[in-house]
Symmetry: C3
Subunit: 362 residues, 3 copies
């Protein structure tokens, strides 16, 4: 854990650098890269602050907090991009977050965990339930796209109404999954929590207000850096020669999910596979059932045409990631080859995005 | 059961009302609504009469009877719509019946059953076998559509020939599943039957001829009311402001499957989950492997261009329903959240059909 | 086994006949049919020679040999077709080999095995792992096609670059699966091998050089006959009135896989289901992860535009075959109905290819 903290601590230096770069009008590419690097530790501290507060306020309210702020970085980044009208970038980042969590985070966890342990086990019941929820999420983003492609001359406003209605259903389902995992069937999830506590890191009682303060400061930090990132995005990616779709789907989500990566892989190497899988699956589930629908509803109020009608190729990529992740996780055990298969799928998807010609809006 | 019988008994009043509405030339909307309400109890009595006769004639012939007449209402309704050339309505009703059984009936069963019992179990072997059969059914309606969309200038007659050939394969598979469940592997299905008998409702020996008479009268009743329904369909839905695709896929199947709903939910709340799941899965399986192929072959002889080339959006909806139903049912246990997921999927699919612009032929 | 050897022995007579037909300028249809018949025993002896050599050189090198030469007939046939520029035929044959192994070979094995034994069991862990690998293979051929269909004006060279990159990933995954099954997790695969040895056919120590000689001669035989087959293909299928897509997908793979059929069915009838399933799944896996990517890379060097961008209908057919094969095999047991379902799916797919209008390049 010390190495992790050291790396994240060092990355904090990029906060002043990126702000300086902005005010001194350095190149957009430099602003982009430094802001991206600065977000990594901020996202990590945000996650940590949320968890510390969760310990103080108790499991119920704490679980809710975790569930709401767990992907706060993605949410803030997406809100700012949405405000700037970069709807396509928002969709690409959401796609990339889901794919990244399912394939990259879970892939590395299973591979590195599997190199140490011949076979690793986790709760198949919750894995299968998560699989069904992810299937629902794919269906929810598939249907508006399918409506558009199977009808001629559908009005954009109809698609947005449909998207908002579907978004409301998804948020409702999200609340139900919280009710299920925290209240009615919490015993199914006890393993993961128990394992987490075993780590013994939370043996002291954290100071609530200290951490609320940290959370506040860090949140402001993420907002600021996200603005720098979004502002410099278009020029910087052009300068770097990166396809913008590739940047949105592959590059940005790696930044936003660096902390989840570190956690999931670390606990997998301690054979705490339940926790590792729940971090990866839970995070993508949260994005699909909470962050994405929230942005659709926010877009509706902000007058930005954000809907669930994703670019068909993004849809294919998400569907493909869910298919292979479900196929690998639903039996409740893993080995290094399964991790390698997830990473290979990620490689194939990333290659496809890399060679994909630019798409309108990106 | 008394509440159920009371409701169905009361609905019988709509039989004379709908006929009167027809002869007195009342509004088409009124005919449509009263005929729809009149079909609900008729469908229920038809199911009951079939089951009573099945008890007398013994398990083998009885099982065959049940398998053939189980969806007789849908079959009669579809035949009359097909005779009137409403091919698109027939396809929409078939789609809706499959979706309704998999998502709505199974969803309510699992949700309401799950509110009473923390976890409910059923035979995973048969659930998984049903899942494979439903996959075959999706494949069978997917392939003709895929042939059309991946070729230029395919003749309509070729598609119909292909559909008839595929229909013959499906009916053959249907006969094989009957052979499997009644003869060679009947022991796998004993649980459900035993549970059914436990209900003790069939302790008396029903009068065969009485029930054959009831079945005959009820069948005539359904034919009559179906004709009224089909006749008034187009004008009534226009008056009510309902999209016709929505009426075919969502509204009509709820009418035709009201009895299955009642049965599946009732037994689920008694923790007889095997029976409940087999009613929902069995009914959609019957429609996909027997009713739909039979209509394709009938359409061929009646000169109506009925084929298995469904509207792509209907295809997506069926595929999606099968995907999530399989993902939830294949592990052999259920809880309230799984029921809620099925209902949420139904809600999303219904919303998509509601906002879908009209499609040619509808 | 004697009947099998007798049939294969008799078919050897078609080797001289086909060569004579070629030099005496008999009809192309005759050359096509005799060359096709001549390949069947050659493929069988090639498989046998590989296995005999594998016994001598030991499990590790032998396993590698088996893994490399297991589908040598398909590979040779495809190379020659590729050299002649028949890219569409190559893709069709690959599609057909995967479909044939998953549906026809596994279907007959489960059906005929299931007629003798009420229920047959095999290792679910390896079956599920194979399912995930096949999902990856489908994803790998789906993505280049999806890239093409979701972008306007993508250059052919970009698609080929993407295909080569994906092919490299697939071959890497193939090597990892070999490492997994032979080294790190070989205990999972011991059952199949033990069963194989039980057959007791290999109790003598085969003469290495004799079999290397046989392998060499047989390989030359297959090359020769493959050339005759490819040369006569276009005219012969036109004469026979067979759609060329149908020939490529359905007819050619049956020729190339006759030996696998015989083996898988024979061992299934001896209740050695582990071995039977691994022959069918393993063979399709090898084609998807090794033969197809090798041909893409070879095509790149040979200047033939061979890529992983399959005809969409072929893609649908492969996806459908993998879907149903995974759905049936992943629970680790089989019965006759599951075999019948696979065969029914094959029938439906074959019908669709039969009625499919000709596609460009075929």
């Amino acid at each position: 854990m010390n190495t992790k903290n050291l790396i994240f601590g060092t990355l904090l230096i990029f906060i002043p650098i990126s702000i300086a770069a902005h005010y001194l009008h350095w190149s957009e590419t430099l602003i982009f890269i430094t802001a991206a690097l600065a977000i990594i530790p901020l996202a990590a501290f945000m996650g940590e602050a949320t968890e510390e507060i969760a310990v103080v306020v108790g499991p119920n309210l704490g679980g809710l907090l975790n569930a709401t702020f767990g992907n706060a970085t993605e949410l803030i980044l997406a809100f700012i991009a949405l405000k700037s009208g970069l709807v396509a970038v928002v969709k690409a980042t959401l796609t990339g977050s889901i794919i990244g969590n399912l394939l990259l985070v879970m892939g590395f966890s299973m591979l590195l965990g599997g190199l140490r342990f011949k076979e690793q086990n986790f709760q198949p019941t919750t894995a299968r339930l998560n699989a069904s929820v992810m299937n629902l999420a794919v269906i929810a983003i598939l249907l508006p796209t399918a409506v558009q492609y199977t009808s001629t001359g559908i009005e954009s406003i109809t698609l947005q109404k449909l998207s908002v209605a579907v978004a409301v259903v998804l948020i409702l389902v999200y609340l139900l999954t919280l009710l299920f995992s925290m209240k009615t069937h919490s015993y199914l999830y006890d393993v993961g929590i128990a394992e987490n506590e075993e780590e013994g890191e939370e043996s002291y009682h954290p100071n609530l207000w200290l951490w609320v303060g940290v959370l506040f400061i860090v949140t402001v930090g993420v907002a600021i850096e996200s603005e720098l990132l979004v502002e410099s995005l278009e020029i910087a990616t052009a300068d770097l020669g990166l396809p913008t779709l590739f940047t949105g789907v592959i590059f940005l989500p790696i930044i936003g999910n660096a902390a989840e990566h570190a956690t999931a892989v670390t606990v997998a190497m301690k054979d705490k596979m339940d926790l590792s899988v729940s971090v990866a699956l839970g995070s993508s589930l949260q994005i699909a059932l909470f962050v994405a629908p929230l942005l659709v509803i926010a877009g509706w109020f902000m007058g930005q045409p954000m809907d669930l009608n994703f670019n068909p190729f993004e849809l294919v990529a998400v569907a493909v990631a869910v298919l292979i992740a479900n196929s690998i996780s639903s039996d409740g055990n893993s080995n290094w080859l399964e991790g390698a298969l997830l990473l290979a799928t990620y490689a194939v998807v990333a290659l496809a995005f890399f060679y994909h010609p630019a798409i309108e809006g990106l």
